[in-house]
């Protein structure tokens, strides 16, 4: 195959109903950026190397520096039955945000240091739908999930928390994931 560029890169673009591409690359360093758009795709990979690292998406994006952590505390003491939006984020043009962890915590009143009897619920949403996550009691909890929640460019992410307990409390919410 002819090499098109002096640096040895070979741009390839096929558009066809059925494509089979046998690939045999031998090099000291190989970077393959593959973008496949098809109704079905079968990819057979045979890698022979001294060391091979295969990362799941979350780990890979951490290496690429694409991680996102969002945190928002309440603006003050929140009374029972009330809530607040603690995180607002509009997904930038050309980006997609994937959230795969969510947490929320209750904080005692720092003035009195009395343990509050609190239970809170938190949820993340965009303009179209809400996804509920219920958190039980003080001090709160954190969870991660393998299938991320996707927010497309132009969506606005909201995280809101409500105080369902009998005592007023401070609270905070956090989200983790990646944006590519």
């Amino acid at each position: 195959m002819a090499i098109d560029h002096p640096d040895g890169t070979v741009p390839i673009a096929f558009t066809k109903a059925d494509i089979k591409v046998p690939v045999d690359i031998q090099a000291q360093y190989i970077t393959l950026d593959i973008n496949i758009k098809a109704q079905t795709a079968d990819v057979t990979i045979n890698i022979t190397a001294q060391s091979v690292g295969v990362y799941i998406q979350g780990e890979w994006t951490a290496k690429q520096g694409q991680q996102k952590f969002l945190y928002g505390p309440s603006s003050g003491l929140i009374n029972p039955g009330y809530g607040e939006t603690v995180i607002t984020y509009a997904i930038p043009t050309g980006k997609t945000l994937f959230i795969n962890s969510i947490g929320a915590a209750v904080q005692d009143d720092p003035m009195t240091h009395i343990a509050v009897d609190a239970s809170i619920e938190g949820y993340v949403s965009n303009e179209d739908c809400s996804i509920f996550f219920v958190f039980a009691g003080r001090p709160g909890c954190f969870g991660s999930f393998p299938t991320p929640i996707r927010f497309d460019a132009g969506d606005t992410l909201y995280m809101a928390i409500s105080n369902l307990g009998p005592d007023a409390c401070f609270f905070g919410g956090s989200l983790g994931g990646w944006e590519i």
């Binding site: 520096g65 991680q67 952590f69 309440s74 603690v86 607002t88 984020y89 944006e179």
Partner: protein, 79 residues
């Protein structure tokens, strides 16, 4: 547009801290892994038609000089 707000709209950060203020404005702190500075700004009407940055500050996020000096000293002894 202030640098912090540019970073927010470009998604050019790894962590974001938001806190709503009693006047309805929001204090936002953005930081990026490996970047030695953070952007702290207070904005009113975030994402709204009347959005306005009220305060803006760039925070140098490196350890204080006395800690850096101690690290150098420790490295000398370790070597």
């Amino acid at each position: 547009m202030q640098e912090g707000l540019k970073k927010l709209y470009a998604g050019d950060f790894n962590s974001m801290h938001q806190q709503r203020q009693p006047d309805g404005s929001i204090v936002i702190i953005l930081s990026t892994s490996g970047e030695k500075k953070s952007y702290k700004f207070r904005v009113k009407d975030l994402y709204g038609p009347d959005e306005e940055v009220l305060e803006h500050e760039v925070i140098q996020a490196k350890p204080p000089k006395h800690i850096l000096d101690r690290m150098k000293e420790a490295q000398k002894h370790a070597g």
